[in-house]
Symmetry: C3
Subunit: 163 residues, 3 copies
């Protein structure tokens, strides 16, 4: 383990809801846990959509927030590619290739992370900004928290990644 004796903490910030970013976040989180680390993911801005329930189509309390949710659908099953999206064909191909090569889907990885004890922390400010309430999100996640909570995680972490 080099300079230290314990595997230590891994602090991830999930800022994006792109399919190709959700993968590294969730693969690093689950691998970190497998390596004995204490892993937390702070879901902020677009990243908060990863914690949204797949069956929640529209979220938000006013028309602007509702509009955001329409153009930017949440849920780990509904992610788009950062590029080469090709009106949905890109993600379809990626999922198909992933399946053929035994790579778990973001939805499967998210469930695995939760079961393995990765702390999934929704950003309170993003919830307010986008009008996403606790009921819009999946079960088994932590209490909503703010930037100060994220900073404290980073201070104790062996490694911090903003993805």
């Amino acid at each position: 383990m080099g300079e230290s004796e314990t595997p230590g903490k891994l602090a991830l910030v999930a800022w994006s809801d792109d399919l190709d970013k959700a993968w590294p976040v969730l693969i690093l989180a689950t691998t970190g846990v497998a390596a004995g680390m204490d892993v937390s993911i702070f879901f902020t801005f677009w990243g908060l959509r990863l914690l949204q329930r797949n069956d929640k189509r529209m979220t938000g309390k006013n028309w602007m927030q509702k509009m955001l949710s329409i153009f930017n659908r949440g849920g780990a099953d509904n992610l788009k590619l950062h590029k080469l999206n090709f009106a949905g064909m890109g993600p379809w191909m990626m999922h198909k290739l992933a399946k053929e090569h035994g790579v778990a889907s973001p939805q499967e990885l998210l469930e695995l992370a939760r079961e393995a004890g990765v702390r999934l922390v929704p950003c309170q400010m993003t919830m307010d900004l986008m009008g996403i309430s606790r009921e819009d999100m999946i079960d088994g996640i932590e209490q909503p928290a703010g930037a100060m909570s994220a900073i404290l995680e980073m201070q104790e972490a062996k490694a911090t990644l903003f993805i």
Copy 2:
């Protein structure tokens, strides 16, 4: 504080000039200072535009640099969204939602960061590449520095984030 006794250093690299990336950079920076950390932000590539004065419309010494500045306007008040930009309507909505929920604007956060002692470091190479001079940027920032300076910050930092 866990393994250490002091809050330590936080080294941020601001690579992007997207509105949705400027927010996490500046919120983490100001929160880090509030937690007692010594915070620096290295503004590089597109991120350098965050330090540009809002009233500087065009920058650059040759036509290519001027063209870059036209298509990629600088200044913390003029940022676009990474996605859902909708020809300017996305940022307008985001600013409106932020105001309603008490989230400070990037411009306000940048001023707060400067006052609170966050070291704002412009990347010299980017200044050269894009033809941005010291006069194009806001007051109260550090001397331009290079990648070696950023590396030395990272070596001493508790956490390093590339945003």
Copy 3:
């Protein structure tokens, strides 16, 4: 060097194959080595394309993988800009500005990194997913590795950046 006695390790994750992201990855890597650090780059997802040989036009074992390689050409000489790409004019301008200001190209920096002892590690899962084989990639790189290998690097690193 602050809290420690040796420059330590720098763990970079290269996720993107954008020209404007390849630059910071490779500039930080080579600067890190110059500062005495032990530097590794884990090339994953789109980032794996940076290790692709410039003369390999098409890669992949099935039609989907081949299609990906056509729309997303690999090789350090063939990178596009994250934004302002302007159908290829943006990268041309950036390369021209870089040359005028003495900034090395990604191809030159990649070769320098390899010579200077930066460990270039291709992500095995991405190779499988995209159908990129060892022969599609440049010489002098490390054995393909997985996420666990990346996590172990991060545990020992002074700084970890996801770019």
